[in-house]
């Protein structure tokens, strides 16, 4: 089937490290870190103008990381940009939390906990009044607590997922690969020569299996 070839090609490009946006060699990564470090220093300065000047290099250095992270929860480019705009303005207003940050992982964790989470919770607050879902479940769905998987970087996730997919059964792997290509459940059912209900169950079980495998992977490394 032609869309299967497309799915495999797309998945291959998904997992290739060059698309991550950091560049591949250590020198390039260090250069970005230095830029980010300088921007962070400027952001935490008491002078308003200096903070404002530091904002541009900070946004340039972190935009890719932050928007990919937000996309995890929202799945919508427009909403991601709106939330991120507020997050950056909040950071500019009160950057105290970013004072002693040394690594990108720490930066992402701090920004999520103290800036992004609050904004993510506000995204669907308006519609929450008319929903059957409780306030707590809504929060957990849109802006959950940080689990061990949530803190893995994009590169680590790609690597881990590639390994885990190879350990799945062929049918399970195919279902997930097609899903990640954007194929509908009905089309997956046709491809796997089964029913829509069976694909839903297969996907659910495979995701639980993946969760267990990813958790074990995290503890191992």
């Amino acid at each position: 089937m032609p869309f299967i070839d497309r799915a495999q090609a797309s998945l291959h490009s998904c997992f290739s490290t060059t698309r991550f946006g950091y560049g591949t060699n250590a020198e390039e990564r260090d250069a970005m870190n230095r830029r980010l470090r300088n921007a962070l220093k400027g952001l935490t300065a008491p002078d308003v103008e200096r903070r404002r000047r530091a904002m541009e290099p900070f946004v340039r250095a972190t935009f890719g990381i932050f928007i990919r992270y937000l996309y995890r929860y929202l799945g919508n480019e427009v909403e991601c940009e709106d939330v991120l705009e507020d997050v950056y303005a909040d950071i500019w207003e009160k950057a105290d939390r970013l004072r002693n940050i040394t690594t990108e992982r720490e930066l992402l964790r701090t920004v999520y906990l103290y800036y992004m989470r609050k904004r993510l919770r506000q995204v669907y607050r308006r519609i929450n009044r008319n929903l059957c879902l409780s306030q707590r479940d809504m929060k957990n769905l849109v802006a959950p607590e940080l689990g061990i998987l949530e803190m893995m970087s994009q590169t680590e996730l790609r690597q881990a997922l590639r390994q885990m997919l190879n350990r799945l059964k062929a049918r399970e792997r195919r279902a997930i690969e097609l899903w990640m290509e954007g194929v509908s459940i009905r089309a997956i059912a046709i491809e796997l020569k089964t029913t829509v209900g069976a694909v839903k169950m297969l996907k659910f079980r495979t995701m639980l299996k993946l969760k267990k495998m990813l958790r074990d992977y995290c503890y191992e490394y």
Binding site: G21, I67, E85, D86, I127, Q154, L161, L210, L214
Partner: protein, 108 residues
Amino acid sequence: MPETNREIQELLVDYAGALRDGCIPTFLKSLTREEAQSIASSREFWDATEVARILNSVGFADNAVTPNVSLFISRVNAEIASRLKKAKASSRRGKRATGARPLAKRED
């Protein structure tokens, strides 16, 4: 028209689909009271949503990265400028409330 009383695996697939298509509000609005209750009590659902988010991130997050960050930076600058303006306006209002007005009245 949303299906009523979906099973937990159906709810998970619908959530993952909504996340992939960027229409989470549609999924949230489609939930009935019974479905919301079964979501709340299902540990498996919450475990699977974590994986759904990761698949979404690995598979589609690159779509969100715009090649031209400059436009976004100008939006951030505008937001900062607007907050600065608001802060200045409120501090001016605060000053007026604390002392400037009564002084002017006394001169009259």
